[in-house]
Protein backbone atom coordinates (compact mmCIF):
# COMPACT_ATOMS: atom_id res chain seq x y z
CA UNK A 1 0.00 0.00 0.00
CA UNK A 2 1.18 3.44 -0.84
CA UNK A 3 1.76 5.72 2.12
CA UNK A 4 -0.20 8.95 1.79
CA UNK A 5 0.01 12.08 3.90
CA UNK A 6 -2.75 14.64 4.06
CA UNK A 7 -1.85 18.07 5.39
CA UNK A 8 -4.84 19.03 7.52
CA UNK A 9 -5.26 22.78 7.43
CA UNK A 10 -6.47 24.44 10.62
CA UNK A 11 -7.57 28.05 10.96
CA UNK A 12 -7.54 29.20 14.55
CA UNK A 13 -8.55 25.79 15.80
CA UNK A 14 -10.97 24.97 12.98
CA UNK A 15 -10.33 22.13 10.55
CA UNK A 16 -10.85 23.35 6.98
CA UNK A 17 -13.39 21.45 4.81
CA UNK A 18 -10.83 21.00 2.02
CA UNK A 19 -8.79 18.70 4.27
CA UNK A 20 -11.71 16.27 4.53
CA UNK A 21 -12.24 16.42 0.76
CA UNK A 22 -8.60 15.34 0.37
CA UNK A 23 -9.19 12.47 2.81
CA UNK A 24 -11.91 11.08 0.55
CA UNK A 25 -9.49 10.63 -2.36
CA UNK A 26 -6.42 9.82 -0.23
CA UNK A 27 -7.98 6.75 1.37
CA UNK A 28 -8.61 5.30 -2.12
CA UNK A 29 -4.91 5.69 -2.92
CA UNK A 30 -3.33 4.05 0.09
CA UNK A 31 -2.84 4.16 3.86
CA UNK A 32 -3.52 7.67 5.02
CA UNK A 33 -1.77 9.59 7.75
CA UNK A 34 -2.89 13.14 8.45
CA UNK A 35 -0.78 15.90 9.93
CA UNK A 36 -2.63 18.43 12.08
CA UNK A 37 -0.71 21.35 13.56
CA UNK A 38 -1.66 24.09 16.00
CA UNK A 39 -4.66 24.82 18.19
CA UNK A 40 -7.51 22.36 17.67
CA UNK A 41 -5.31 19.60 16.25
CA UNK A 42 -6.47 17.07 18.85
CA UNK A 43 -10.15 17.72 18.18
CA UNK A 44 -9.49 17.60 14.43
CA UNK A 45 -7.79 14.22 14.81
CA UNK A 46 -11.07 12.54 15.76
CA UNK A 47 -12.76 13.92 12.66
CA UNK A 48 -9.82 12.94 10.46
CA UNK A 49 -10.04 9.42 11.88
CA UNK A 50 -13.71 9.16 10.92
CA UNK A 51 -12.73 10.22 7.43
CA UNK A 52 -10.17 7.48 7.01
CA UNK A 53 -6.91 8.60 8.61
CA UNK A 54 -5.17 5.61 10.24
CA UNK A 55 -2.72 7.85 12.04
CA UNK A 56 -2.87 11.52 12.90
CA UNK A 57 0.43 13.20 13.71
CA UNK A 58 -0.26 16.25 15.76
CA UNK A 59 1.32 19.01 17.74
CA UNK A 60 -0.56 21.90 19.32
CA UNK A 61 2.36 24.31 19.67
CA UNK A 62 1.14 27.91 19.49
CA UNK A 63 3.95 28.61 16.97
CA UNK A 64 1.91 26.95 14.20
CA UNK A 65 -0.83 29.54 14.64
CA UNK A 66 1.40 32.54 15.22
CA UNK A 67 4.01 32.19 12.45
CA UNK A 68 3.61 31.85 8.71
CA UNK A 69 4.66 28.62 6.98
CA UNK A 70 8.07 27.99 8.57
CA UNK A 71 7.04 26.02 11.72
CA UNK A 72 4.70 23.81 9.67
CA UNK A 73 7.45 23.22 7.09
CA UNK A 74 9.83 22.23 9.89
CA UNK A 75 7.30 19.78 11.31
CA UNK A 76 6.65 18.11 7.96
CA UNK A 77 10.37 17.89 7.15
CA UNK A 78 11.06 16.47 10.62
CA UNK A 79 8.40 13.81 10.17
CA UNK A 80 9.65 13.09 6.66
CA UNK A 81 13.09 12.23 8.08
CA UNK A 82 11.39 9.55 10.16
CA UNK A 83 9.51 7.81 7.37
CA UNK A 84 8.95 9.13 3.89
CA UNK A 85 5.48 8.95 2.34
CA UNK A 86 4.88 8.30 -1.36
CA UNK A 87 2.44 11.17 -1.76
CA UNK A 88 1.68 14.33 0.18
CA UNK A 89 -1.64 16.05 -0.51
CA UNK A 90 -2.30 19.70 0.25
CA UNK A 91 -5.33 21.84 -0.51
CA UNK A 92 -4.62 24.48 -3.14
CA UNK A 93 -5.41 27.24 -0.64
CA UNK A 94 -3.41 30.36 0.25
CA UNK A 95 -2.09 28.97 3.55
CA UNK A 96 -1.40 25.42 2.40
CA UNK A 97 0.41 26.45 -0.75
CA UNK A 98 2.92 28.45 1.29
CA UNK A 99 3.80 25.41 3.38
CA UNK A 100 3.83 23.10 0.35
CA UNK A 101 6.12 25.47 -1.57
CA UNK A 102 8.65 25.70 1.23
CA UNK A 103 8.57 21.95 1.84
CA UNK A 104 9.01 21.12 -1.86
CA UNK A 105 12.01 23.43 -2.06
CA UNK A 106 13.53 22.04 1.15
CA UNK A 107 13.16 18.44 -0.02
CA UNK A 108 14.15 19.39 -3.59
CA UNK A 109 11.24 17.49 -5.08
CA UNK A 110 9.02 20.11 -6.70
CA UNK A 111 5.26 19.82 -6.79
CA UNK A 112 2.14 19.81 -8.91
CA UNK A 113 -0.24 22.68 -8.15
CA UNK A 114 -3.82 23.45 -9.12
CA UNK A 115 -4.76 19.78 -9.61
CA UNK A 116 -8.38 18.76 -10.08
CA UNK A 117 -7.71 15.09 -9.38
CA UNK A 118 -4.93 12.65 -8.56
CA UNK A 119 -4.79 8.92 -9.25
CA UNK A 120 -2.30 6.07 -8.91
CA UNK A 121 -1.21 4.30 -12.08
CA UNK A 122 1.47 1.57 -12.11
CA UNK A 123 2.98 2.83 -8.90
CA UNK A 124 3.16 6.43 -10.13
CA UNK A 125 0.91 9.32 -9.26
CA UNK A 126 -0.78 11.18 -12.07
CA UNK A 127 -2.50 14.50 -11.44
CA UNK A 128 -5.01 16.22 -13.68
CA UNK A 129 -4.19 19.88 -14.22
CA UNK A 130 -6.02 22.45 -16.34
CA UNK A 131 -4.03 23.36 -19.41
CA UNK A 132 -4.20 25.81 -22.29
CA UNK A 133 -6.61 28.17 -20.68
CA UNK A 134 -8.70 25.38 -19.23
CA UNK A 135 -9.81 24.04 -22.62
CA UNK A 136 -7.56 21.04 -22.02
CA UNK A 137 -6.57 18.90 -19.09
CA UNK A 138 -2.98 17.68 -18.82
CA UNK A 139 -2.09 14.43 -17.08
CA UNK A 140 1.06 15.24 -15.13
CA UNK A 141 3.28 12.44 -13.90
CA UNK A 142 5.37 13.26 -10.84
CA UNK A 143 8.93 11.93 -11.20
CA UNK A 144 10.38 12.43 -7.74
CA UNK A 145 9.29 11.09 -4.39
CA UNK A 146 7.62 12.16 -2.31
CA UNK A 147 5.11 13.46 -4.80
CA UNK A 148 3.53 16.70 -3.61
CA UNK A 149 0.18 17.59 -5.13
CA UNK A 150 -2.00 20.59 -4.33
CA UNK A 151 -5.65 19.95 -5.11
CA UNK A 152 -8.23 22.68 -5.66
CA UNK A 153 -10.96 22.87 -3.02
CA UNK A 154 -14.28 21.21 -3.90
CA UNK A 155 -12.61 18.69 -6.18
CA UNK A 156 -13.86 15.77 -4.07
CA UNK A 157 -16.89 15.12 -1.93
CA UNK A 158 -16.00 14.64 1.74
CA UNK A 159 -17.53 11.58 3.38
CA UNK A 160 -17.05 9.61 6.57
CA UNK A 161 -15.55 6.15 6.31
CA UNK A 162 -15.84 5.15 9.94
CA UNK A 163 -12.83 4.22 12.00
CA UNK A 164 -10.58 6.15 14.29
CA UNK A 165 -7.00 7.28 14.07
CA UNK A 166 -4.02 6.46 16.24
CA UNK A 167 -2.75 9.69 17.68
CA UNK A 168 0.97 10.30 17.47
CA UNK A 169 2.38 13.35 19.12
CA UNK A 170 5.04 15.05 17.01
CA UNK A 171 7.82 15.32 19.57
CA UNK A 172 9.58 18.30 18.10
CA UNK A 173 10.20 21.80 19.39
CA UNK A 174 9.98 24.66 16.92
CA UNK A 175 13.23 26.60 16.98
CA UNK A 176 13.43 30.37 17.25
CA UNK A 177 15.02 30.52 13.81
CA UNK A 178 11.64 29.57 12.32
CA UNK A 179 9.68 32.03 14.45
CA UNK A 180 10.06 34.98 12.12
CA UNK A 181 6.94 36.02 10.20
CA UNK A 182 4.68 36.57 13.21
CA UNK A 183 0.95 37.26 12.97
CA UNK A 184 0.45 39.97 15.58
CA UNK A 185 -3.14 40.93 14.86
CA UNK A 186 -6.18 39.52 13.06
CA UNK A 187 -8.66 42.04 11.68
CA UNK A 188 -12.09 40.94 10.45
CA UNK A 189 -13.58 43.33 7.91
CA UNK A 190 -16.18 41.41 5.97
CA UNK A 191 -19.16 39.76 7.58
CA UNK A 192 -20.84 37.69 4.92
CA UNK A 193 -24.60 37.36 5.11
CA UNK A 194 -24.48 34.09 3.17
CA UNK A 195 -21.14 32.31 2.87
CA UNK A 196 -19.97 32.31 -0.73
CA UNK A 197 -18.81 28.68 -0.59
CA UNK A 198 -22.12 27.49 0.83
CA UNK A 199 -24.57 29.64 -1.14
CA UNK A 200 -27.19 27.92 -3.33
CA UNK A 201 -27.00 30.86 -5.73
CA UNK A 202 -23.88 32.88 -6.47
CA UNK A 203 -23.99 36.11 -8.44
CA UNK A 204 -20.52 37.28 -9.51
CA UNK A 205 -19.57 40.57 -11.10
CA UNK A 206 -16.67 41.42 -13.39
CA UNK A 207 -15.36 44.39 -15.32
CA UNK A 208 -18.66 44.59 -17.21
CA UNK A 209 -20.26 46.00 -14.05
CA UNK A 210 -18.54 49.26 -14.96
CA UNK A 211 -17.34 50.16 -11.46
CA UNK A 212 -17.66 49.42 -7.75
CA UNK A 213 -20.62 51.80 -7.47
CA UNK A 214 -22.74 49.30 -9.42
CA UNK A 215 -22.03 46.27 -7.20
CA UNK A 216 -25.06 47.02 -4.96
CA UNK A 217 -27.18 45.95 -7.96
CA UNK A 218 -25.70 42.47 -7.49
CA UNK A 219 -26.32 42.64 -3.73
CA UNK A 220 -30.00 43.41 -4.41
CA UNK A 221 -30.28 40.45 -6.76
CA UNK A 222 -28.50 38.21 -4.23
CA UNK A 223 -30.93 39.31 -1.52
CA UNK A 224 -33.89 38.51 -3.76
CA UNK A 225 -32.48 35.02 -4.40
CA UNK A 226 -31.03 34.35 -0.95
CA UNK A 227 -27.61 34.10 -2.56
CA UNK A 228 -24.12 35.51 -2.18
CA UNK A 229 -22.07 37.91 -4.30
CA UNK A 230 -18.72 36.97 -5.81
CA UNK A 231 -16.32 38.69 -8.18
CA UNK A 232 -13.69 38.06 -10.83
CA UNK A 233 -9.99 38.55 -10.14
CA UNK A 234 -9.94 41.60 -12.44
CA UNK A 235 -12.24 43.64 -10.24
CA UNK A 236 -10.62 42.42 -7.02
CA UNK A 237 -7.22 43.48 -8.39
CA UNK A 238 -8.72 46.81 -9.39
CA UNK A 239 -9.76 47.28 -5.77
CA UNK A 240 -13.52 47.43 -6.46
CA UNK A 241 -14.34 44.68 -3.96
CA UNK A 242 -12.38 42.76 -1.30
CA UNK A 243 -10.38 39.61 -1.98
CA UNK A 244 -12.84 37.62 0.12
CA UNK A 245 -15.26 37.84 -2.83
CA UNK A 246 -12.88 36.47 -5.45
CA UNK A 247 -14.05 33.33 -7.24
CA UNK A 248 -11.45 31.46 -9.27
CA UNK A 249 -8.24 29.53 -9.29
CA UNK A 250 -6.67 31.40 -6.40
CA UNK A 251 -9.89 32.73 -4.96
CA UNK A 252 -12.76 30.59 -3.79
CA UNK A 253 -14.11 27.52 -5.54
CA UNK A 254 -17.88 27.32 -5.60
CA UNK A 255 -20.38 24.83 -6.99
CA UNK A 256 -23.82 26.32 -6.32
CA UNK A 257 -27.12 25.28 -7.86
CA UNK A 258 -27.08 28.41 -9.97
CA UNK A 259 -24.14 30.65 -10.83
CA UNK A 260 -24.87 33.97 -12.48
CA UNK A 261 -21.79 35.55 -14.10
CA UNK A 262 -22.40 39.22 -14.76
CA UNK A 263 -19.98 41.12 -16.98
CA UNK A 264 -17.35 38.37 -16.67
CA UNK A 265 -15.63 37.25 -19.87
CA UNK A 266 -14.69 33.82 -18.55
CA UNK A 267 -10.90 33.54 -18.33
CA UNK A 268 -9.66 30.20 -16.99
CA UNK A 269 -8.49 31.94 -13.82
CA UNK A 270 -12.19 32.46 -13.08
CA UNK A 271 -13.89 29.46 -14.64
CA UNK A 272 -11.90 26.79 -12.79
CA UNK A 273 -13.49 28.16 -9.63
CA UNK A 274 -17.09 27.95 -10.82
CA UNK A 275 -17.52 25.57 -13.72
CA UNK A 276 -18.77 22.77 -11.47
CA UNK A 277 -21.89 24.84 -10.76
CA UNK A 278 -25.08 22.97 -11.70
CA UNK A 279 -26.54 25.76 -13.82
CA UNK A 280 -24.65 28.74 -15.22
CA UNK A 281 -26.31 31.91 -16.44
CA UNK A 282 -24.10 34.51 -18.14
CA UNK A 283 -25.00 38.13 -18.66
CA UNK A 284 -22.57 39.89 -20.98
CA UNK A 285 -22.43 42.54 -23.67
CA UNK A 286 -20.27 40.29 -25.82
CA UNK A 287 -22.03 37.29 -27.36
CA UNK A 288 -18.59 35.86 -28.22
CA UNK A 289 -17.20 35.96 -24.65
CA UNK A 290 -15.85 32.53 -23.55
CA UNK A 291 -18.33 32.43 -20.65
CA UNK A 292 -21.19 32.23 -23.19
CA UNK A 293 -19.82 28.93 -24.46
CA UNK A 294 -20.18 27.29 -21.07
CA UNK A 295 -23.41 28.91 -19.90
CA UNK A 296 -26.73 27.10 -19.88
CA UNK A 297 -28.31 30.45 -20.67
CA UNK A 298 -26.45 33.46 -22.03
CA UNK A 299 -28.13 36.85 -22.12
CA UNK A 300 -26.50 39.43 -24.36
CA UNK A 301 -26.99 42.98 -23.21
CA UNK A 302 -26.25 45.68 -20.66
CA UNK A 303 -25.80 44.18 -17.20
CA UNK A 304 -26.81 47.44 -15.58
CA UNK A 305 -30.27 47.12 -17.18
CA UNK A 306 -30.69 43.33 -17.00
CA UNK A 307 -29.81 42.85 -13.33
CA UNK A 308 -32.30 45.43 -11.94
CA UNK A 309 -35.00 44.11 -14.29
CA UNK A 310 -34.43 40.59 -12.97
CA UNK A 311 -34.43 41.76 -9.34
CA UNK A 312 -37.68 43.65 -9.90
CA UNK A 313 -39.29 40.60 -11.51
CA UNK A 314 -38.25 38.37 -8.59
CA UNK A 315 -39.67 40.86 -6.09
CA UNK A 316 -42.91 41.13 -8.04
CA UNK A 317 -43.17 37.33 -8.03
CA UNK A 318 -42.84 37.20 -4.27
CA UNK A 319 -45.48 39.92 -4.03
Amino acid sequence: MAKIWVYAELHQGKLQPTSLELMARARELGDVEAIALGAGARAAAATLGKHGAKVVHLNEDQAFDDFIAEPATDALAWLYQRGAPDLILFGFTPDSREVAGRLAARLGVGLIANAGDVAATDGAFIAQVPYFGGAKVASMRANRKPVIVLVRPKSFEASEAGGSADIKELALAIGDSSKRARITERVVEASEKVKLEDAKVVISGGRGMGGPANFPLLEDLADALGGAVGASRAVVDAGWVPYSMQVGQTGKSVRPGVYIAVGISGAMQHTVGMKASKVIIAINKDAEAPIMKMADLGVVGDALKIVPALTAALKARKG
Binding site: I68, A69, E70, P94, R97, E98, V99, G101, R102, A104, A105, R106, G110, L111, A113, N114, F132, G133, A135, K136, V137, A138, S139, M140, R141, A142, N143, A181, I183, T184, R186, V188, E189, A190, E192, L225, V236, D237, A238, Y243, S244, T250, G257, V258, A267, K278, V279, I281, M294, A295, D296, L297, G298, V299, V300, I306, A309, L310, A313, L314
Partner: protein, 252 residues
Protein backbone atom coordinates in the same frame (compact mmCIF):
# COMPACT_ATOMS: atom_id res chain seq x y z
CA UNK B 1 18.02 49.38 1.76
CA UNK B 2 18.52 47.10 -1.19
CA UNK B 3 15.26 45.86 -2.69
CA UNK B 4 15.04 43.09 -5.28
CA UNK B 5 11.79 42.84 -7.24
CA UNK B 6 11.19 39.68 -9.28
CA UNK B 7 9.49 40.33 -12.61
CA UNK B 8 8.06 38.12 -15.31
CA UNK B 9 7.03 38.64 -18.88
CA UNK B 10 3.62 37.12 -19.60
CA UNK B 11 1.14 36.93 -22.48
CA UNK B 12 -0.89 40.13 -22.52
CA UNK B 13 -3.89 39.50 -20.20
CA UNK B 14 -5.95 41.81 -22.41
CA UNK B 15 -5.55 39.55 -25.41
CA UNK B 16 -7.38 36.24 -25.49
CA UNK B 17 -5.30 33.11 -25.13
CA UNK B 18 -4.34 31.96 -28.60
CA UNK B 19 -4.35 28.34 -29.64
CA UNK B 20 -3.10 27.08 -32.97
CA UNK B 21 -5.10 24.50 -34.90
CA UNK B 22 -2.96 21.75 -33.36
CA UNK B 23 -3.64 23.16 -29.85
CA UNK B 24 -0.09 24.43 -29.40
CA UNK B 25 0.19 27.87 -27.82
CA UNK B 26 0.29 30.71 -30.34
CA UNK B 27 3.85 32.06 -30.13
CA UNK B 28 3.33 35.46 -31.70
CA UNK B 29 1.23 36.61 -28.82
CA UNK B 30 1.79 40.04 -27.40
CA UNK B 31 3.88 39.81 -24.26
CA UNK B 32 3.95 42.36 -21.45
CA UNK B 33 5.44 42.91 -18.02
CA UNK B 34 3.12 41.03 -15.63
CA UNK B 35 0.64 43.67 -14.34
CA UNK B 36 1.03 42.26 -10.83
CA UNK B 37 4.79 42.79 -11.02
CA UNK B 38 4.22 46.42 -12.02
CA UNK B 39 2.58 46.81 -8.61
CA UNK B 40 5.60 45.14 -6.97
CA UNK B 41 7.96 47.53 -8.75
CA UNK B 42 5.82 50.51 -7.74
CA UNK B 43 5.89 49.42 -4.09
CA UNK B 44 9.66 48.88 -4.30
CA UNK B 45 10.12 52.38 -5.70
CA UNK B 46 7.96 53.91 -2.96
CA UNK B 47 9.96 52.13 -0.25
CA UNK B 48 13.19 53.34 -1.86
CA UNK B 49 11.84 56.90 -2.01
CA UNK B 50 11.00 56.74 1.69
CA UNK B 51 14.08 54.89 2.95
CA UNK B 52 16.78 55.35 0.29
CA UNK B 53 18.69 52.57 -1.40
CA UNK B 54 18.38 50.70 -4.64
CA UNK B 55 15.74 48.73 -6.57
CA UNK B 56 17.08 45.80 -8.61
CA UNK B 57 14.82 43.86 -11.00
CA UNK B 58 15.47 40.15 -11.52
CA UNK B 59 13.78 38.14 -14.26
CA UNK B 60 14.16 34.74 -15.83
CA UNK B 61 13.03 34.22 -19.39
CA UNK B 62 14.00 34.34 -23.05
CA UNK B 63 15.99 37.23 -24.49
CA UNK B 64 12.83 39.23 -25.16
CA UNK B 65 12.13 39.36 -21.38
CA UNK B 66 14.69 42.18 -21.46
CA UNK B 67 11.75 44.38 -22.56
CA UNK B 68 9.89 43.63 -19.32
CA UNK B 69 12.95 44.63 -17.28
CA UNK B 70 13.40 47.74 -19.42
CA UNK B 71 9.84 48.79 -18.66
CA UNK B 72 10.52 48.52 -14.94
CA UNK B 73 13.73 50.51 -15.34
CA UNK B 74 11.79 53.24 -17.13
CA UNK B 75 9.44 53.40 -14.14
CA UNK B 76 12.52 54.19 -12.03
CA UNK B 77 14.20 50.95 -10.95
CA UNK B 78 18.01 51.19 -10.87
CA UNK B 79 19.24 48.13 -12.71
CA UNK B 80 18.23 44.69 -13.91
CA UNK B 81 19.41 41.10 -14.04
CA UNK B 82 18.15 38.78 -16.77
CA UNK B 83 18.64 35.05 -16.25
CA UNK B 84 18.41 33.69 -19.76
CA UNK B 85 19.67 30.41 -21.09
CA UNK B 86 18.38 27.74 -23.44
CA UNK B 87 19.05 25.23 -20.65
CA UNK B 88 16.36 26.93 -18.58
CA UNK B 89 13.67 26.72 -21.24
CA UNK B 90 10.54 25.04 -19.93
CA UNK B 91 11.71 25.35 -16.33
CA UNK B 92 9.21 24.26 -13.69
CA UNK B 93 8.53 26.19 -10.48
CA UNK B 94 11.37 24.53 -8.55
CA UNK B 95 14.03 25.18 -11.19
CA UNK B 96 12.74 28.74 -11.62
CA UNK B 97 12.99 29.33 -7.88
CA UNK B 98 16.49 27.79 -7.79
CA UNK B 99 17.71 30.02 -10.61
CA UNK B 100 16.16 33.16 -9.12
CA UNK B 101 17.56 32.27 -5.69
CA UNK B 102 21.07 31.89 -7.04
CA UNK B 103 20.98 35.30 -8.73
CA UNK B 104 19.32 37.05 -5.80
CA UNK B 105 21.63 35.49 -3.20
CA UNK B 106 24.56 37.25 -4.84
CA UNK B 107 22.80 40.59 -4.35
CA UNK B 108 22.21 40.06 -0.60
CA UNK B 109 19.08 42.24 -0.54
CA UNK B 110 17.24 43.50 2.54
CA UNK B 111 13.87 42.87 0.93
CA UNK B 112 12.66 40.67 -1.93
CA UNK B 113 9.30 41.64 -3.43
CA UNK B 114 7.34 39.19 -5.61
CA UNK B 115 3.85 39.31 -7.04
CA UNK B 116 1.48 36.96 -5.22
CA UNK B 117 1.08 34.97 -8.40
CA UNK B 118 1.75 35.46 -12.10
CA UNK B 119 -1.01 36.33 -14.52
CA UNK B 120 -0.33 33.35 -16.76
CA UNK B 121 0.29 30.47 -14.33
CA UNK B 122 -1.58 31.85 -11.33
CA UNK B 123 -0.29 29.17 -9.00
CA UNK B 124 1.87 31.35 -6.74
CA UNK B 125 4.33 28.56 -6.02
CA UNK B 126 7.63 30.28 -6.83
CA UNK B 127 7.61 32.84 -3.95
CA UNK B 128 7.43 30.34 -1.05
CA UNK B 129 10.05 28.16 -2.77
CA UNK B 130 12.26 31.21 -3.27
CA UNK B 131 11.86 32.25 0.37
CA UNK B 132 12.89 28.76 1.48
CA UNK B 133 15.92 28.62 -0.80
CA UNK B 134 17.05 32.08 0.30
CA UNK B 135 16.44 31.19 3.95
CA UNK B 136 14.07 34.14 4.37
CA UNK B 137 10.78 34.50 6.22
CA UNK B 138 7.82 35.04 3.92
CA UNK B 139 5.18 37.72 4.41
CA UNK B 140 2.51 37.02 1.84
CA UNK B 141 -0.56 38.63 0.27
CA UNK B 142 0.60 42.06 1.42
CA UNK B 143 -1.71 44.95 0.64
CA UNK B 144 0.44 47.30 2.70
CA UNK B 145 4.16 47.28 3.65
CA UNK B 146 5.88 49.31 6.35
CA UNK B 147 9.62 49.27 6.97
CA UNK B 148 11.07 50.25 10.30
CA UNK B 149 14.80 49.79 10.70
CA UNK B 150 15.44 46.08 10.51
CA UNK B 151 11.76 45.07 10.72
CA UNK B 152 9.09 44.78 8.07
CA UNK B 153 5.36 44.85 8.79
CA UNK B 154 2.63 43.99 6.30
CA UNK B 155 -1.13 43.81 6.15
CA UNK B 156 -1.75 40.30 4.86
CA UNK B 157 -5.03 39.90 3.04
CA UNK B 158 -7.21 37.03 4.27
CA UNK B 159 -10.63 35.69 3.31
CA UNK B 160 -12.40 37.87 5.85
CA UNK B 161 -10.08 40.83 6.38
CA UNK B 162 -6.37 41.03 7.05
CA UNK B 163 -3.63 40.00 9.46
CA UNK B 164 -0.82 42.20 10.66
CA UNK B 165 2.42 40.24 10.13
CA UNK B 166 5.86 41.31 11.30
CA UNK B 167 9.30 39.87 10.60
CA UNK B 168 12.93 40.88 10.81
CA UNK B 169 14.66 41.75 7.52
CA UNK B 170 15.97 40.38 5.25
CA UNK B 171 12.60 39.02 4.23
CA UNK B 172 10.52 38.09 1.19
CA UNK B 173 7.19 39.81 0.70
CA UNK B 174 4.53 38.94 -1.87
CA UNK B 175 2.23 41.79 -2.83
CA UNK B 176 -1.35 41.81 -4.10
CA UNK B 177 -2.26 43.93 -7.09
CA UNK B 178 -4.11 46.32 -4.81
CA UNK B 179 -0.97 47.50 -2.97
CA UNK B 180 -0.10 50.46 -5.17
CA UNK B 181 -1.21 51.97 -8.46
CA UNK B 182 1.80 51.59 -10.79
CA UNK B 183 3.16 54.88 -12.13
CA UNK B 184 3.48 55.58 -15.81
CA UNK B 185 7.01 55.82 -17.12
CA UNK B 186 7.84 59.43 -17.96
CA UNK B 187 9.64 60.32 -21.16
CA UNK B 188 12.63 61.17 -19.01
CA UNK B 189 12.36 57.77 -17.33
CA UNK B 190 12.22 55.99 -20.67
CA UNK B 191 15.30 57.88 -21.88
CA UNK B 192 17.18 57.17 -18.63
CA UNK B 193 16.31 53.46 -18.79
CA UNK B 194 18.22 53.10 -22.04
CA UNK B 195 21.53 53.56 -20.28
CA UNK B 196 20.71 51.50 -17.19
CA UNK B 197 22.47 48.18 -16.79
CA UNK B 198 20.74 44.88 -17.54
CA UNK B 199 23.23 42.17 -16.67
CA UNK B 200 22.69 38.85 -18.40
CA UNK B 201 23.29 35.70 -16.40
CA UNK B 202 23.61 32.26 -17.98
CA UNK B 203 22.84 28.85 -16.51
CA UNK B 204 26.55 28.19 -15.93
CA UNK B 205 26.86 31.32 -13.77
CA UNK B 206 24.24 30.13 -11.31
CA UNK B 207 26.02 27.12 -9.80
CA UNK B 208 22.89 24.98 -9.85
CA UNK B 209 22.15 21.67 -11.50
CA UNK B 210 19.28 20.78 -13.73
CA UNK B 211 18.11 17.37 -12.65
CA UNK B 212 15.36 15.23 -14.04
CA UNK B 213 12.16 17.17 -14.67
CA UNK B 214 10.01 17.21 -11.57
CA UNK B 215 6.99 16.33 -13.62
CA UNK B 216 6.29 15.27 -17.18
CA UNK B 217 3.13 15.62 -19.19
CA UNK B 218 1.74 12.18 -19.95
CA UNK B 219 -1.03 13.37 -22.16
CA UNK B 220 -3.44 16.16 -22.88
CA UNK B 221 -7.16 15.67 -23.27
CA UNK B 222 -10.10 17.94 -23.88
CA UNK B 223 -11.44 19.33 -20.65
CA UNK B 224 -14.89 18.14 -19.78
CA UNK B 225 -16.69 20.87 -21.62
CA UNK B 226 -19.99 22.22 -20.51
CA UNK B 227 -22.41 22.31 -23.36
CA UNK B 228 -23.24 25.80 -24.46
CA UNK B 229 -26.90 26.53 -23.91
CA UNK B 230 -29.09 29.13 -25.53
CA UNK B 231 -27.70 32.61 -26.10
CA UNK B 232 -30.45 35.21 -26.30
CA UNK B 233 -30.60 38.97 -26.70
CA UNK B 234 -31.91 41.07 -23.84
CA UNK B 235 -35.39 41.82 -25.07
CA UNK B 236 -38.92 41.71 -23.66
CA UNK B 237 -38.79 37.99 -22.89
CA UNK B 238 -35.23 37.61 -21.54
CA UNK B 239 -36.16 38.13 -17.88
CA UNK B 240 -38.85 35.46 -18.16
CA UNK B 241 -36.33 33.07 -19.66
CA UNK B 242 -33.97 33.66 -16.74
CA UNK B 243 -36.82 33.13 -14.26
CA UNK B 244 -37.66 29.89 -16.02
CA UNK B 245 -34.09 28.64 -15.66
CA UNK B 246 -34.06 29.65 -11.98
CA UNK B 247 -37.35 27.81 -11.44
CA UNK B 248 -36.07 24.67 -13.16
CA UNK B 249 -33.05 24.78 -10.88
CA UNK B 250 -35.48 25.10 -7.95
CA UNK B 251 -33.91 28.23 -6.51
CA UNK B 252 -37.11 30.28 -6.87
Amino acid sequence: MKIVVTVKQVPDPNSSLGLEADYSLAREKEVVLDPGDECGIEEGLRLKEAHGGEVVLVSMGPERARDAIRKGLSMGADRGILISDAQLAGADALLTAQALAAAIQAEAPDLVICGTESFDGSTGMVPPMLAELLGLPQLTFAKKIELDGSAVKVHRQTADGYQVVEAPTPALVTVTAGIAEPRYASLKGIMAARSKEIRQVGFGDLGIERGEAVETIEGVADAEARKAGAVIEFDGTAVDRILQVLAEAKVV
